[in-house]
Structure formats: structure tokens, C-alpha cells
Symmetry: C2
Subunit: 339 residues, 2 copies
């Protein structure tokens, strides 16, 4: 586990109580040859400093708490709640309580969480991480499964989906229907998922003999507002695209709202494919074609792997395992045939 400078040590106790470390140790371990007055003084300082003796801390850490923690960037996105749902289902059957923590996409908050009492006491973690480099993940010593976002050299198992193929298939579908002015709206390429979707799109375009036009790549955030704004800009350009690939669920929802506000018809005036199912893609007529990923299964798969790691300590931690789940292009009526 992460050890922070804020942890109170036996030395702090000794210094504050104005006794030797050996004396504090004798008190903690209940040994004799400590006067009652000293014992009381040391216990008072231990209490005041909120000090947990290592022996106790170690004993608590070694005990199974039968709790898993799922750490996600936010819980307002249905993708994350679906992953959590899958985790809870498996964990419950195996006798584990699942807790959820949102890091708000903030690296410092993510660290704080792992340094907290809870971070130290959960039996294992399912982590959709916010940190972008491997060093943070390497400090996590408990069984941990990275979900969706994988960081190489993190030292942990991962459960991902084939983002690359999903975006590739979506773009290829546009091309097969005769589109060439194909836009992509995505967010920052901080993690593999975003990067892979972009390069899947690129490859399909190039393989299809279409040179991707940079003005049709709108990169903002991964949130709805950004999808909305980018769609407005694309459709109000001098030569608007005939097709838009919205690279996540929220961007897709934003695109649908922008298309509605522009009084355009999906599948007629503009073709649209989203990545991930979402409430609006399913609601509008025609339904929006989406790359469907097995969100709930990502949670069940991760929970199974995690519980195995917790129970079977002999598992080879030097050889992390990556599981890649497949995606499926669900074709509805939102792509117009141009040829």
C-alpha cells in the first residue's frame, strides 16, 4: 500500500510523550518494567495522535475484510455504473461487500483514496484509473484489476474492450455505405481507450482510400457539451461531413441534441454512429447505430479475476494478464446509403 508522510510513527509518539521509542514499544506490547504513570502518558499520546501501532495495523491489514473497492472517475456516467453493477453481482455471490469511490477524474483525489483507511483495508481493487503513468499503479500492492483503461508496466491485470476494432468497424460501415466526409468527435487521448478509437478510425479511413481531413477531427472533452458544440461546428461548416462518429456515449448524446436543434434528420441529413449504447441513441427514431460493448461483463470479469487473485495468493503477480472483451456494431437506421 501507499505509505504517506502523514502516517504517525512510533517515533512521533515517543517524541511527543518525551520517552524513548523502546518505552513506547513496551507499552504497546504490554510488557512490564513501565511505570503506571508513563504507561498512561504514552497511551494518552497514542490516543491524541490517533496512532495505530504497527502490530495492530499489520494485524488489521492481514485480516480479510471481505470488501472490494471499485474506484471510478465518476458515477454519473452509465458506463461506470454498469461496470459496478457487474462487479457487485459477482462479489456478492462470493461473500464480498463492494464499495464504490469516485475520484472525480482527479489524480490527487485518487491518491488520497488509496492512502485512506479504506484504501489500506479493502481486500482488493477494481480500478478505472485517473493517473496517466505507471508509477502510481506500481505503488498499489494489493490485488488490483485495471478496467477499461490499461497502463502498461502497471504490474496489474486488466479487463479491456477492443476499442480499436470498434472504431474501425464503425468507420468501415460508413465507408461501405459510400460516405467519405466522415468526422470523428472525441476527447483527450489520455488513455488507451480514447487513443485506440481514434487510430481505429484512422486505419479504416486510410484502408478505404480516404485521406482523413483534420478539419473533420473535433477533439474536445469526453462530455455531452463537447459533443453538442462539436456537432454544431461541423454541421455549420462550409462543407459539412455526411457522417459523424461520436467516440463515446456522452458525445453521442450531445450530437443527437445538436442535430435535433439544427432541425436535421438523423440517417437522412446526417449519418451518425456512437460508441456505447445510450439512452438517447435508443430513444430517437431511427435508433442510432452504436458500437456496443459488454459493460456489465467487464465488471463481472474483473470481479472474478480479482477474487481469484485475493484467494489464490500463489498467482503469478509478475505476469499480469490482460483480458480483451469483444465489441459489436449494432446497425440501426442512422447511416444513410450514399451509393
Amino acid at each position: 500500500m501507499v505509505v504517506t508522510k502523514r502516517d504517525i510513527t512510533i517515533k512521533d509518539v515517543a517524541k511527543t510523550a518525551n520517552v524513548s521509542v523502546a518505552t513506547v514499544s513496551r507499552v504497546i506490547n504490554g510488557l512490564d518494567r513501565v511505570s503506571e504513570a508513563t504507561r498512561k502518558k504514552v497511551l494518552k499520546v497514542i490516543d491524541e495522535l490517533n496512532f495505530v501501532p504497527n502490530t495492530i495495523a499489520a494485524s488489521m491489514v492481514n485480516k480479510k475484510t471481505n470488501m472490494l473497492a471499485v474506484v471510478v472517475p465518476e458515477i454519473q456516467n452509465p458506463f461506470y455504473t454498469a461496470v459496478i453493477g457487474g462487479t457487485v453481482e459477482v462479489a456478492k455471490k462470493a461473500g464480498f461487500v463492494t464499495l464504490v469511490v469516485s475520484t472525480n477524474g482527479d489524480e490527487a483525489e485518487e491518491s488520497t483514496y488509496f492512502e485512506s483507511f479504506l484504501g489500506k483495508n479493502a481486500d482488493g481493487f477494481i480500478l478505472i484509473g485517473t493517473h496517466k503513468t505507471a508509477d502510481f499503479y506500481q505503488t498499489i500492492r494489493k490485488p488490483t484489476i485495471l478496467v477499461d483503461r490499461y497502463i502498461d508496466n502497471s504490474g496489474h491485470d486488466g479487463v479491456m474492450i477492443d476499442n480499436y476494432r470498434g472504431a474501425y468497424e464503425a468507420t468501415k460501415h460508413f465507408l461501405e455505405y459510400g460516405h467519405t466526409r466522415i468526422a470523428i468527435i472525441d476527447g483527450k487521448h489520455d488513455f488507451n481507450d480514447g487513443k485506440d478509437r481514434y487510430w481505429g478510425y484512422q486505419r479504416a479511413m486510410v484502408e478505404g482510400g480516404v485521406s482523413p481531413d483534420p478539419k473533420y477531427h473535433k477533439q474536445g472533452s469526453w462530455l455531452e457539451d463537447s459533443g453538442y458544440q462539436s456537432t454544431l461546428e461541423l454541421m455549420q461548416a462550409e462543407v459539412p461531413p455526411t457522417a459523424i462518429f461520436a467516440a463515446n456515449n456522452l458525445i453521442c448524446q450531445g450530437a443527437i441534441k445538436a442535430i435535433r436543434d439544427l432541425n436535421l434528420e438523423i440517417g437522412e441529413d446526417i449519418s451518425l454512429i456512437g460508441f456505447d449504447e445510450n439512452e438517447l441513441a435508443e430513444f430517437v427514431k431511427p435508433k442510432v447505430t452504436v458500437v456496443r460493448r459488454p459493460t456489465r461483463e467487464m465488471g463481472t470479469q474483473a470481479a472474478e479475476m480479482l477474487i481469484k487473485r485475493i484467494k489464490d495468493k500463489s498467482t503469478d503477480e509478475t505476469n499480469p494478464k490482460k483480458v480483451i472483451l469483444d465489441v459489436e456494431l449494432m446497425k440501426y437506421g442512422s447511416v444513410k446509403k450514399m451509393n
Copy 2:
């Protein structure tokens, strides 16, 4: 805290180690007059049984963990995630980590959670409870704020909204616009929120001189499917209603989908008011009139009250405080003028 039969006691340790309780106590407290062999045997049993001595448990319990737990029936409903969002915001500023647990609307799961290691170690709870009677809540000894659902005699503070007035205002709005065949779709009346909405509707009807027709009360679950089915049934009846009050966000979403599938026009063929904002009510044209409640504020208010309870131990716990937040009827275009 809840004490369960599954808790291992010092007696279990003594029995298993085949020594007296006094001996175990001497080992735990580090006193002398215990042979090294006995000491080792007792420690081994303590370890095997996963026993946490009361002194340690008490010490751990008394120590602040700086963690709050939010316990909700599910996390796929945006109402709950909004409450959580508000809680996290306030908790973070006050230096608390917030964890979230979903009970899946299951009383046993809710109990399990409170009996778990985490339930014993959080500094306090924000609870949207699943238990229906006060006795469960009375067993929770840590600072706890009940949100949305309040159980009388629970012994805890509460943060609620004025469900009664919300439903009353919605129904009155229908009546003022000349509707008399006004249906209500709701779920089970397990908690005050559901009950109050139903009786707010009833009172407005009776005050408006309209006798509520039982065939216009569709009671199913609080989920989308139920709203969908109930709307189909209502609209396919011999004399369909002219107005529907959908008593929560998911029922409202189901109603909107049913109206779409029946090729009816909201605000023209059928008037609709929902309780709580939701993605679809906001998306369709015209927007659906809703009773808006301050969901995020419920979370911030509850977190503030909880942190005060945790920090200020002198607070009078025998006199729980109820805070009722107000609601607002947001009038959009989904109610047709009939007069």
C-alpha cells in the same frame, strides 16, 4: 453499531484454544503470568478466527477514519448519483473521503453492509434506506442522516423534500388547465416519498371537486418498464385519461416511450407531468413539465449535517432534526389547456 451473532468473541477464542477467558485477556493485554507456549497458542487462535480484540476494535472505532459512507438502494438512478455528487463535494472540502455502497434495495444486503468491517469503521452514514421499520435504524449508533426516505422513530436526522406539495402542485396544474381524467402512475407505497406523492395527488383532486377514479391509479414498480406498461394500459382503455402524473423519473421515461410507441403527441393527445427531471423529459419536444427537486442539495445538506454530528459530539441525538427542502413545478409545454 449492529452486533451480529457472527462476531467472534473472546469466549470463542478461549474455547478454541482450550484456555480460560482470563488467560486470553492476559495475552491480549500483554500481561505476564502466561507461559510462552500458551501465549503462542492463543495468538494462533486469534489469528485463525480472525478475532479483533475489543480493545483494538474499540480503539479502531474511536479513531476517526475520515470516511463517510453513502448507502443507496442503487446507483443506476440519476437521482441517487446526484445526491452522492453533492455529498462528495461537501465531504471533500471537510477532508473526508466518501464511499458509496448500493444495497440493491435488499434489506439483508443493507444489514450485511452495516455489519461489515466498513460499516463499523466509517465515521458516519448518509442513508437512503431500504428497511421499512424503525428497529433497523435504531441499531445504527454512529452519526447517520436519512435522505429522501424518512422512518419515524429511527432516532436519526433526515433530509427530505416536500413530496406531498410537489404532487399536489402538479395535479392542481392539470386541474387548472381543465383536466379531470387525471391518472397517476406510481410504485409501492413502502416509504414516505411514494405515499406522500399519492396523497398530494388525492388531496388536489378532491379539493378541485374531482373524485379520483381508481381505474386511473396504476400502481406497479418505480421502474421504467412499469411506467411504460401502465401508460399503454391507460391509453388503450375505453376512456383514456387526458393527463398522466408520472410519480418518479423512471416511470416518466417509460411513459414518454409508450407515448412515442403509440404515436401520440405529448401536450396534444396526452398531457404529462413527471416527478424529477430526467434525460428524456428534457429531450422531447415539447419538454415535459416536471416537479424539480434539489437533488444535489439534498446531498450537500445531508453531508453538512453529518459532518457537524461527527465533529460536535454534544449534539442532542435524542432530538433528531428533519430538514425539508422545497420543490418547484417547472412548466414546459406538456400540459394542454382544455378550457
